[in-house]
Structures are given as structure tokens and as C-alpha cells.
Symmetry: D2
Subunit: 351 residues, 4 copies
């Protein structure tokens, strides 16, 4: 069945598979201590314009959020995130599992407001009971956010500025970073992230790799003994070279951004079809996640022909769903979806 | 200096001290496995009207909240509490330290609404992503709340009813329970709590004991090997008999409720003085915590003569403070406070 | 450089890569909820002769150990393992990271003795202080062990019998299970494991897969909400179908055991060469790990031509190293190693 | 019934009780931020001869061990202790509950050997797999040990020297410190501990206080935000002044050492009686814990008249028990015990 359920439905970009296959019987030392990982790191440092960046490859996003937040905070500290942030809602308590509280700020279309962050920190420090509270120890934002929205460079600079004034590291979840960097109208580059964040990651799982996230610690601030910390979390991949091979390939000839752009282009085609069809879109962004609110019967009808993601109940008779494109989305798939969206409800659908 | 800073400023009711002194050179086995603890438990079971209740004595409130919530939930579960709940704000992450997330609901004068709780659970179960989220595993309410407010019996029954329909245990934080049970107009009794909650505690630290909280597991639901769990948390008191002696005394001749009532009576006197003086009280309750919003200069003036608790900044020029009475508050202390509250600001105060 | 450093130096068996490539643009639902995972699980159930077995695919071994031990024990329990067990020594504290203590028994060539296990449990229960101690909550053994040794069926039955009499689940780490099942002289089958263990895993990472471990819960004892528990550990692979594809292929036409056998055959060739060369082997087994004690100069010489694994310092002038073969080891590689082992030290080597 | 079961069977030294009673209706600020705590700290700094020492009062020993070890180690580190150490055996996994592994060294009458510690650290650093292992992050010794034995000054200096050369803090558990400092023949003083340890505690619970341990961080190395860390562990006593009052009194006029000495003197009387009676003492020390191996029938007989502590089964027909004296042990109690020890078994006892 046709699927726009998420951006991790397919395997990997063919160049990634070819690269793995070509190296298949080469022998690599374990745990990422190999030359291809070094090569991939060098390419990423180059792309970030940060020769001091320290890079570590992990397998998945929740894993990365858990480990980075744990390793970069003291036990009396927590992570400040917006209430809709992945770490606050959709990680099954992975952050709390390592003893860290999520300190939730209001979300604005999925984004954090720098002034609200600053006010939160100021109020915390002014609170006479602060020693009985969880200290803000790291700031977490997603780019793109869980709603596909993007920070402008000015917005990120404002957040980064608050963090630096207050001595709190800024962590950017880039699970879908490729789609953010290549969106229409964005002014945020990889170099900007490397300049403004203290740690961020470049998502591979959702952008062309089989799996893998490249964590970039800027300004030489990788926690001491980070490999041991990763092992302690059960997250150290024995065949680390598999991650190295993939990121080495993704950062050769701009593969990462080129394949990411496709998702946004295809999403724009779907957005156009939705707009033309008079569909209700509660929030519009320029990346690969499209949110549309459907009458329940319409949702049921579509679900028989295409897999979409349940997002939330809008009201008793409407459901908001997510349509996700990816590096792998083809013109033909979009054509089929657009055709389905044009179909009207039939009596049969209402059964 | 005169203090209305909190309800744990003094030692213990004289009868408690006398009881400890009388037993001082008796020899007790360790860790609460003594006869006086058994006697205290029997008295509490009687007062609760629940002959099956299992009781464990702990030292402090945050400790109790941490251990009960940890022990009564699975690792994939969290605790539902209002956003102003002690476990969510003022325990320095003690709940998260044992790997549990606080799932925050709106607070209404510090209280949880049963319908909102039910709606939260319903929405959770209806969410297609629920397996990636923290399951509601226990419900936490405080009685009195952190704002000194009280649930009515009907409100507690409604919450208990939601919990039982949904198979989620109800935990009542009774750190100030004595003040709640003896408040003007309350219709909630200890028997009601034992009937409606799955676990609750009777606060001693703030109600006449040197320290100690009596955790009551109703319906035979004390977690297996609870003593070992307490030890693992570093919370098992070697001289458990000290807790037994205190609760045995508190539950002899109604000492617990008799001394608790004093706090509410004295608080009413202060509330009357505040009302007469035209002070702004953002929230009025019938227990031992009084909240009053003062111009900052007035707050500074009073702070030179009496210790009050900072609660929160009301606005740039006003501060909300808490005045707390207790079992130990004397007429004379209240007279002095009332006199201070009548004083007008002098030029000297504004320096 | 030639490597016998470990059994995870290469990618995957070509059939595995081909299977992934063939399915690359198919669209799968996330997190292992796909048909290919179901197919793989059915094949594994068949191979185990246990139609009730519940199976979950994870990425790596330490991750699996951490999650299984955490999920199958209460917080007052720990894991009983031999002192040389992977969970006790080489997981960087991953077990303790989730709050579980490793209760170490003596190791006999890496193996646990059933009588010692029984005596440990008996002594624990007879200890008047047991409520202040960590309860034995799960028993962990590796098959093959960290020393490549194997339990006989009678030995496993004896351990399983102790576990069942005492109500403690038995967990078998099968990270190298393929090499154990196909070793000369073993009488332990997959069906035996499914019968004797309460949970075990079939290692893919070291036996032909890119990565992946198939956790088999026998007797319907997968912990409730296990997927959420895995997510909470940051260990839920978005593209779960990648694990399904690999295990579906490994359990088609006995691929798993056929490729595993190669490692043992090649190891036997190396063992023969070592014996012929008069090398000191502190421990001999029938699986893919060979331990040999070398004069330090000889170790240094060999290390310039082949990658071996440091195991431990034998004494001031000798080092014990590990030679590991795998599904990927070729005749040619073994020929080269055997030739190197025949070389004598030259003056140059002693520089 | 007469009890020599432990050193926490009675309440507190009368001067402690009197001090608490005298201050009972004074009003103190919460959480140890009061003047009497400051006074107690000043007295302890004086007694330690370390004007820079930072002191924090906690309630119990396991709690203290858990918090200090957690707060003074990174997550990739563990605690090195002898296998018989309290943290390794009798804390129900409290250390692991906060994610730290106990790295066990051999015990020599309960003591750690400096050379073995050094060799352990050296072997760890020389191990090529060390990044996959738990790093030694703090060294824990008890003085007196769990067997009542004492380090000599030279032994402590040797351990401290290893720790400083290797950059690992030394933590001394002084739950029974008073009995160690006042033992016959010891050359270790409080000043020595303050000089040699990085953190240690002065036990109050077992030496005259109702409860309480004074944690002394020497060399200004109290972890940042330690109060918040304590709160996060659920261990911050609301009425911190109760601990301050007790330690202020214990460190007035040498009360602490004077009352401690009594325990050792009384223990010597019992040891003399045991020796005279031909009892088997598997280990002899100069402090307040006496270990004696009894025929089981004799143990059963004595248990009907005096409470002793089960220690371990010596063999099928013998049990090793512990006799503990304390600050509270009276001449009369010892006389009664000595008389009991002189009694011979009667036929009745063998029933």
C-alpha cells in the first residue's frame, strides 16, 4: 500500500547501499575506531566550517537525545524544551529514565521563544526556592521542529545568545536536519548551527541512511570519556564503520542536501493539491511534514488506500493527520496521492 | 526573630519529646521491626477504619513521594499530578531521579479536576502513538494542596472513581494532612482517605513530630519487599522505633488532630486581621497556609521583624508571601504578627 | 591489514545485503510492526520449536542485556552472573545504569556451576540480613561464554532446574549463539534453549547480520509493554524492518547455522596450527574464539601483520591475546595467519 | 530482653535529648540553614583541624554512601571497595540504584590493601578494553570496617597516596568513627582523616545521636549545588536544625569521643569473658563489634536470653554472631551478658 506515513519507511539511498556493499568484506576495527569514520568526521567538520568539532555516530534519535542530555548535564539539572518537543512527549520517558526532568516551555508552532526562555531562567534564579527545584542545565530545540517548522537565523541567534549569557549549552535535535537546511526560504545553514549550538546532530535515519545520527559537539565540548558513556547506555554500535560509511557517502558531493531537497519539493506539490482541494491545514511549513485536518469519514476512506500518520483528534468528527515525504518519495507516489486527494467520498466510503 | 516561615520551624509537641525521653534507654530491634511500631500501626489502622491497611514509617515527604511513586509504577509509567504539585516543582527532580516522568495537568487553586484527569487518560488511550509515550501509572494529589486548599469528599470520590475505572492507583500526599482533616467545613475524614486512596501518608514532620511520615497502603497493596526498596533508596531509618514512638503518641487520645486544629484556628485569626487590614489575599483557604500579596517595600519592612516565606513575584512591585501557622503557633506569636500587620510603613521602612 | 580481531569486522553475509537491497524501496511501517518482522518471528518460533515464543528484535548485545535484565527484574533484585560475564566486566556499567546490581559467582572457564548457583541462593535465603541485600532476580549465562566455552545440555538443564525451583528466570546471552550451536561435540540445540531458558537471544551482529539480536521470550513471558520499555531505553529502531529482513533471511534455508559453522571450522585449523607450533593456549574450546599466550615481543611482531585482540596480561613478559574467526573468515585469511604463526622472530622484530 | 544486637538500639545520649528539648520551641529556618548548624560545623572544622572543610548533615549511613558516591563520580565511573564493604553487600543496591557499579577488591579482615588498590588501577589503565569498562572513580573504605577492624595511620596514608597519585578521591565511611578514634592502640586521629580523605563522615546514629551523619568534605571539594543533590535524593531533612543541635552537642566538651570510648571498654570486658570461656573468635578487633562462632544449640540457647546479631553460618553446626556494644552499654548489661556466657548448656536448651 502507498505510504506517506513517515520519512523512515524505505531503506537507504542507493548510493548508501552501494557503498556498504562495496566495503562489505573489508575488515574494520570495532566501535567506530576506523578510518572511514575518521573520513566521515573530516567531511562533516568541513561542511560545518568548524575544524574543532568533535563528532560521534549513534544509531537513533531518541537514543541520541537521551545520551547527549544525560552526558551534558549535572544531576541537579534538567533540559528546557517546548511542551511539544520530542523529548517531552514521544520518547516514552527516555530522558527521565536517566534521571533528567524536562522543563517545558510553551510552544509556538513547535518553536521556543527566546524571550520566554530568558524569562524562565530569570524567574528561576529569582525564586527563593530554586535550590529545591531542577536547574535549567541544557536547552533543547528541534530544527525542523516536530511540526515541520523552522527557526530563522535571527531566532536561533536569539536563543543561542540567551544560552551563552546564562552559561547553558544549546542542543539542536536535527533528526530531520536535511529537510530544514534545504527548505524554501530558510536562512539557516549548517555553519550557522555549528556556530550557534553547543551540540547538534545531523539526522541520517530520516534522510537517506539505513540508520544513524551524526552528533556534532562544537567548540571541543564533547564530554570526557563519551565513548564509555555511550557504551553504558547500551548504544555503542559494534560495527561503527557502518555509520561511518553512510555519513562519508552522505557528505560526498552534497548527497545529503541533494536528496533532502526532494522531500520538500514533493511536499510542496502535495501542499498545492491540498490547498486546491480546500483541505484544512492547521499549520503550514516548508519542510517534509504536512498536517491536514480531515473529517473522520474522509480519513477512514483515505486510510484504505494510503498510510498516513494519526496526529491528534481535532474534534469529535475530525482528525488531524500527518503526510510525510522523504528523500525516497517519487513523483509517481505523489501523483497517486494527489489523485486520491481529489477523489470525493462515495456512499461506500461512508459505510 | 518571630517566624511564620513554615510549619516545621519548631521541634516536636512536648508529649512526643516526653515519649522519646521515657523510652530512651529501652532497647529496640532495628529498622522498625519493634513492638512500638506495631502498636502505632494498629492505632493508625483503627483511626483509618481499615484493618487491612499496611503501614510503613518514613522520615520525610519528598522521600516518601519518590519511593511510593517509584515502587507503585512500572518503568513505562509516570505519575499524573497537577502542574503546581510538589512532585512537579519543589522536589529537585526526585521523581525523575528514579526514572519516572511527571505528567502535568492544569491546577485549579492547586487541585486536580476529575474530569480533566479522565479526559487525559481517554486521550492517551486514543492516541495512536501511545506506545511511544509515558503511560499514566499513578495519580498524585495533595490534601491539603500546596496552596492550602482542600478537596471535598465529592471531588476526591470523583478522582478515585476515575482511578478505579482506569486501573490506576491513587496516591494522596498528606504531608499536612492534620491541617486538612481539622479545617473548618471539610467533609473529608481519615476513613474517607483510606477508602478512596490506594496509598496515602499522614504527615508527622509538619504536624507535631520531630520528623516522620506514616505511609498507609490500603487494600493490602504494599509493594512486595517494600522494606528492601526503602533501603535501596537510602531511606530506611536504623532507629525505626523513633518513628513508631512518635506516631504511637500522635494517635493516642487524638493528639494528632487536636494539635493540628490549633494551626487552623490561629490561621483564621491572621486571615481576619489581614482582611480587616485590607490586605490582598490571592487565594483563601481554611488551613494553615495563608497567601498574601504585599508591596515590595511592605514585604521588606515586615521581613525585618518576622520571617515569612517568599512564594512568588506577583508583579514588578509586589510579592506574594506565605504565612504558615502550625501545631506550635501560640496566641502570643499571632498577637505579635497581627500587631505588625497593623503597623503602617514609616519613612525608615522605605530606606 | 589482516584481522582476526573480532567477529564483527565485516559487514554482512551477501545474502543479507541482497535481501536488504531487494526490499530497499518497499515501504514498511515503523518500529518493527511490519510483515517481514512477523515472518522472521514465525521462522524463529519454528526453529525453536516453541509456537508460543514472543520475539523482539534489538540492535546490539549490551543494549539487549541491559533492557532484558532491567525489564525482567524488580527494583529490589539483581542479576546473578559469573565474574567474567560480559554484563559484569565489559558493558561499562550498563546494567548498573538502570539500577541493577550484578551478583558475581565464580567462573569456571567462563561458566557458571549449577551447584554454586543453588548454594548462593540458599545462603541468601538463610541470611538474616537478606532484606538489606540485593535479591537474586535473574540468572545470566552466556552460551558460548566470553571464553568461547560451551555448556553441555546437562549443565544447562541443571542451571535451569535451579532457576525453576527457585522461581528465578534464566537468561541466556547468545550474542555468539550460532557458533555455539554448530560447535564440534555440542549437544545443545536451539530447541533446548527455548525449553530451558525464560529468555535468550540469537545473535545476529556477530553471525552474519549487519547488526541485530533476536530476543526470544519463551513461555509467553515477554514483559508487558515491552516496546515502550525498549523505546524508553532509546533502543527502538525506527526502521525495525531492517532487523526483520535480516533475521528472516538468516532463518531461511538454515543460513544462520551454515555460515556459523565456518567460523568453527576455520578456528579448528588455527588451533591445529597453534598446537603444532607449540603455542601456549590457556584454555581450549570448540568455538570461534582462540586464546593464546604470547611472549610480548612475539605479540608485538604479530601485531604488525595481523590485528589480534588484547585479552589480558599473563605476566610481565607475556600477553594473552584472542584470535577470533567468524562467518566471514576465508581459507586464504587463515592460510596467511597460519603462515605468520610459523614465522620465527627476527632481530628486526625485537627492535 | 537484653540486647547486644547492634549499636543503634537505644535513643540518644541524655545530653543530646536535653539539648533538643531545650531548643524545642525555638524557631529555626529550614533545611539546615540555621545558626546552630553553623555552630556545629565550626566545632567540627575545629576538631578536624581543617578550617576549609565543608560539612553537610544527613540522616543515615546508606543514604550518605549513596549520595556521596553518586555526587563525587561521573557516570562512567564506579566505586572501588572491598568485597565485604557495606556498599557492596548490605545496602540493598543503593549504590547501583543511582547508576554506580561497586568494583570489589579482596578484603583482609575487612580492610583494603593499598598495593592491591594500586595494582587494580594499574591493570585497569593497561587494559586495552578499558573504555568498555567502569572506570575507578572513588575509593571507599570504612573505618572501623564492617568487621570492627581499623586501619593504621600508615595504611590509610598508603591508600590516600595511591588515590592522590591516581587522581581518585578517597571516601571514608565513618558510621562508627567514634569507636575507631577511641580504640586501644589506634594511631589515627580525626585530623588524620581530614588530611588523608577527600570526604568522610562522622557517624552520629551509632554514636550517641538519635540519628545523623556529619559529612566532611575536605579541601573545599563539596560538589556544586550539593543541597539540591541531597534534595533530589529525597534526603534533605526539613528540620535540619535537629542534626545541627545534636552535632553541636556531640562536639562540645569532647562528648563524642568520651561516650564512644565506653563502647570499646565494655567490648573489652566481653572479649575477656569470651577468651576466658574458650569461645572461638574468628577475628579480634579493638572496637565495639565482637564476632564469636557458636555451636547452633548454644546460639539458640543464648538467643532466648539476649539479642545478638546473626552474622553468617560458619558451618552446618556453627553460626558466627556479632555482639555489639555502644555508647549506651552499661556495666550491668555487660555483667548480665558475661554471666550468660558462663552458663553451660542444659538439657532444656537442647530441646
Amino acid at each position: 500500500m502507498l505510504s506517506f506515513e513517515n520519512d523512515y519507511s524505505e531503506g537507504a539511498h542507493p548510493r548508501i547501499l552501494a557503498r556498504i556493499a562495496a566495503a562489505n568484506m573489508d575488515q574494520y576495527p570495532g566501535y567506530g575506531s576506523d578510518e572511514v569514520c575518521e573520513s566521515a568526521k573530516a567531511r562533516i567538520r568541513g561542511a560545518c566550517g568548524d575544524e574543532d568539532a568533535e563528532i560521534f555516530f549513534l544509531v537513533g534519535g531518541t537514543q541520541t537525545n537521551q545520551i547527549v542530555i544525560d552526558a551534558m548535564t549535572a544531576e541537579y539539572e534538567g533540559v528546557v524544551a517546548v511542551e511539544t518537543g520530542h523529548v517531552n512527549v514521544h520518547e516514552a520517558g527516555a530522558i527521565e529514565a536517566t534521571g533528567r526532568k524536562v522543563l517545558a516551555l510553551p510552544a509556538h508552532d513547535g518553536k521556543m521563544d527566546a524571550d520566554e526562555l530568558d524569562a524562565y531562567c530569570a524567574a528561576f534564579l529569582a525564586d527563593a526556592n530554586r535550590d529545591h527545584m531542577v536547574w535549567p542545565g541544557i536547552v533543547y530545540v528541534s530544527h525542523p521542529t516536530e511540526y515541520g517548522t523552522l527557526y530563522t537565523k535571527a531566532e536561533l541567534e536569539a536563543i543561542s545568545d540567551v544560552c551563552r549569557r546564562r552559561g547553558i549549552p544549546l542542543f539542536v535535535d536535527g533528526a530531520r536536519l536535511g529537510y530544514g537546511l534545504t527548505a524554501r526560504g530558510t536562512d539557516v545553514t549548517l555553519e550557522d548551527l555549528a556556530r550557534l549550538a553547543d551540540v547538534f546532530y545531523i539526522g541520517g535515519t530520516k534522510v537517506g541512511a539505513l540508520m544513524g545520527e551524526a552528533v556534532v559537539f562544537t567548540h571541543r565540548n564533547m564530554p570526557k570519556h563519551f565513548l564509555t558513556i555511550v557504551k553504558r547506555h547500551g548504544a555503542l554500535l559494534a560495527k561503527g564503520f557502518l555509520l561511518g560509511l553512510q555519513f562519508d557517502e552522505l557528505f560526498t558531493d552534497d548527497l545529503y542536501t541533494r536528496i533532502a531537497r526532494n522531500a520538500n519539493v514533493q511536499a510542496d506539490r502535495i501542499r498545492a493539491a491540498l490547498a486546491a482541494g480546500g483541505y484544512e491545514m492547521p499549520l503550514v511549513n516548508a519542510t517534509n511534514q504536512i498536517f491536514v485536518t480531515l473529517p473522520n469519514a474522509r480519513y477512514a476512506q483515505l486510510s484504505r488506500r494510503v498510510r498516513l500518520s494519526f496526529w491528534e483528534r481535532a474534534d469529535a468528527s475530525h482528525t488531524t493527520v500527518r503526510i510525510a515525504t522523504s528523500w525516497a518519495t517519487t513523483d509517481e507516489h505523489v501523483d497517486r496521492l494527489v489523485a486520491l486527494l481529489r477523489d470525493t467520498l462515495t456512499a461506500d466510503d461512508l459505510l
